[in-house]
């Protein structure tokens, strides 16, 4: 099983991963072999089986709406690629 080139390109766009033209056929083949593996699931009868997302059926806890975190902007921005005046800098988005 292999995935079409068009589909790989779409996945790469959705994943925001620049994909190299030369590697597309290899990626397609390897993804195909993984999908072949996971396609075994399609033969399983799961009618009426509830999907499981937490082993102990735990639900998200609620807490009081209070400030619990300190403002650590400087420490957090010290490791950023580029900052200015307390803001994260990225390439220009709006002309």
């Amino acid at each position: 099983m292999s995935i079409e080139r068009r589909e790989i390109e779409k996945l790469a766009t959705l994943s925001r991963i620049a994909i190299n033209e030369e590697t597309i056929s290899e990626v397609s083949q390897r993804l195909g072999s993984v999908l072949e593996l996971v396609d075994q699931l399609q033969a399983v009868n799961t009618d009426g089986v509830e999907a499981m997302s937490h082993p102990m059926q735990a639900t998200q806890r609620l807490r009081e709406d209070e400030v619990t975190e300190l403002n650590r902007r400087e420490a957090l921005q010290a490791i950023a690629p580029e900052t200015e005046d307390g803001l994260f800098l990225v390439p220009k988005v709006i002309e």
Binding site: I3, I8, L11, A12, L14, S15, R16, I17, A18, I19, N20, V27, R30, L31, S33, V34, L35, E36, L37, V38, D39, Q40, L41, Q42, V44, T46, V49, E50, A51, M52, S53, H54, P55, M56, A58, Q60, R61, R63, R72, A75, L76, A78, I79, A80, P81, E82, F88, V90, P91, K92, V93
Partner: protein, 484 residues
């Protein structure tokens, strides 16, 4: 000193037989001289370690120090360490120095344990051989042409080579148990929710769980005592008292019912591995345990279900690495889109990219129900297998992995061949159950692991049985050539 267990080190430190500074220097020297051959440690924090050791010695002198005070350990490089690079085995985080500690790291720091450094691992914990690390593969101390297992291969190899008496690790599909088995050490993956995931870089959030590795089950108990805690900062952590895991180690195994799943002894299992595991089961039977053949009929579905759920969750978790706020950013991005796409293409390795693409596929419009939804249902079936089995048995045992450590490159070209390495370990992650691997034999000069799976929050019983097994066997005391 490096051949002493953590339990013995605790006694030695508390009775002032040696100091933590001496002990720490000894292990730092071993890392410096031996690790170039294994590549188990990515970052050594010598200066910090010696400072922490000096502080631990003061606490020990004052009396009433916690058990692990002054004991040197290594952290897997997936746990955030304040001020110390945390790479997760990736170029993406090669420059990442977290401004905070993971809860697990904080727990050990509070106890006065000394951190020697950070261990190598498969990139973002995605791998079973350590071959996906940006820092190069870890070599198995038992056979340096073979893999140490993964993803916690650095932690396992470091403990096997006596570079540290214990290490932290994480397990999403077998990443504690499989490397522990291949390197001949003991390692336990606790129940999902037992150990805080806060500050532990996320791979597949509904499966990831941290746990300790050491040479003995008793040492794992000591480490888990410190590692397990309820944490408000991890919303999936379960609020439940942490027992003293060392308190029940000496209980007898008499009358214990051990389920032996027939699916774990089928095609693909190395005959030498099977022989070693059967011999270990016979040893436990001789100690008074009862072996019961059981069936986990949906076992074969665990690998396909896992390879939907884990990549799907990973594709969401890893979307945070985009070159904006921390980590790798490509050179001269021409616009925002280019910055995202090239930073991720250049920062992530091949296997990580493959899993992100697969995960994105499984979650994309039109495929969600067929893949992710279906896998979550299959997950329920796999859990039900275990729930039914535990109505009749106390523990489940079998091999940790199908064969001993394989050679580098031998599964490199086919991702599926590598994925099948975790065929016996993945189901417990899907079900959220605790599981352990302990050394139980040697095949072709390489270690074999016995897997012990327990019911929810039954870590104490797993450790107890593992300890009883180790009282009557000596596989866990064996050292690779040139190590003793």
């Amino acid at each position: 000193m490096h051949n002493l267990t953590i339990a013995e080190l605790v006694k030695g430190l508390q009775s002032k037989e040696f100091t933590s500074v001496e002990l720490t220097q000894h292990f730092l020297d071993r890392i410096a001289s031996l690790d170039p051959a294994y590549n188990a440690v990515i970052t050594v924090t010598a200066e910090r370690a010696l400072q922490a050791a000096a502080a631990a010695d003061q606490r020990l002198a004052a009396g009433n120090a916690p058990d692990l005070c002054g004991v040197p350990i290594l952290h897997k490089d997936i746990f955030c360490t304040d001020g110390v690079r945390t790479s997760c085995g990736s170029k993406m985080l090669d420059n990442f120095i977290p401004p905070y500690n993971a809860t697990v790291v904080e727990n050990f720091e509070q106890a006065g344990a000394v951190v020697l450094g950070k261990t190598n691992m498969d990139e973002f914990a995605m791998g079973s051989s350590n071959e996906t690390s940006f820092y190069g593969p870890v070599k198995n101390p038992w056979a340096t042409d073979s893999v140490p297992g993964g993803s916690s291969g650095g932690s396992a190899a470091a403990v096997a080579a006596r570079l540290a008496p214990g290490a932290t690790a994480t397990d999403t599909g077998g990443s504690i148990r499989q490397p522990a088995a291949l390197c001949g050490v003991s390692g336990i993956k606790p129940t999902y929710g037992r150990v805080s995931r806060w500050g532990m870089i996320a791979f597949a959030s509904s499966l990831d769980q941290g746990g300790p590795m050491a040479r003995t089950a008793e040492d794992c108990a000591l480490l888990l005592n410190c590692m397990a805690s309820y944490d408000d900062k991890d919303s999936t952590c379960i609020d439940r008292e942490v027992p003293d895991y060392t308190a029940t180690l000496s209980s007898s195994v008499k009358g214990l019912r051990i389920g032996v799943p027939k699916e774990y002894f089928s095609e693909g299992l190395h005959p030498g591995t099977e022989e070693a595991v059967r011999a270990a089961l016979a040893d436990l039977e001789a100690q008074g345990a009862e072996l019961v053949e059981i069936s986990l009929p949906n076992s074969a579905l665990s690998v396909p279900a896992y390879y939907v759920i884990a990549p799907a969750e990973a594709s969401a978790n890893l979307s945070r690495f985009d070159g904006s706020r921390y980590g790798y950013r490509c050179e001269n991005p021409k616009d925002l889109e280019d910055m995202y796409c090239r930073s991720r293409a250049e920062g992530f390795g091949e296997e990580v990219q493959r899993r992100i693409l697969i995960g994105t596929y499984c979650l994309s419009a039109g495929y969600y129900d067929a893949y992710y939804g279906k896998s979550q249902q299959v997950r329920q079936l796999i859990q039900q297998d275990f729930v039914s089995a535990f109505e009749n048995v106390d523990l489940i045992m079998g091999p940790t992995c199908p064969s001993p450590a394989f050679k580098f490159g031998s599964k490199g070209d086919d991702p599926v061949a590598m994925y099948l390495e975790d065929i016996y370990t993945i189901a417990t992650n899907l079900a959220g159950l605790p599981g352990m691997s302990v050394p139980c034999g040697m095949v072709e000069g390489k270690p074999v692991g016995l897997q012990i799976i327990g019911n929810y929050f039954d870590e104490a019983r797993i450790l107890n049985v593992a300890h009883q097994y180790q009282q009557a066997s000596d596989w866990h005391t064996k050292a690779p050539e040139g190590i003793a």
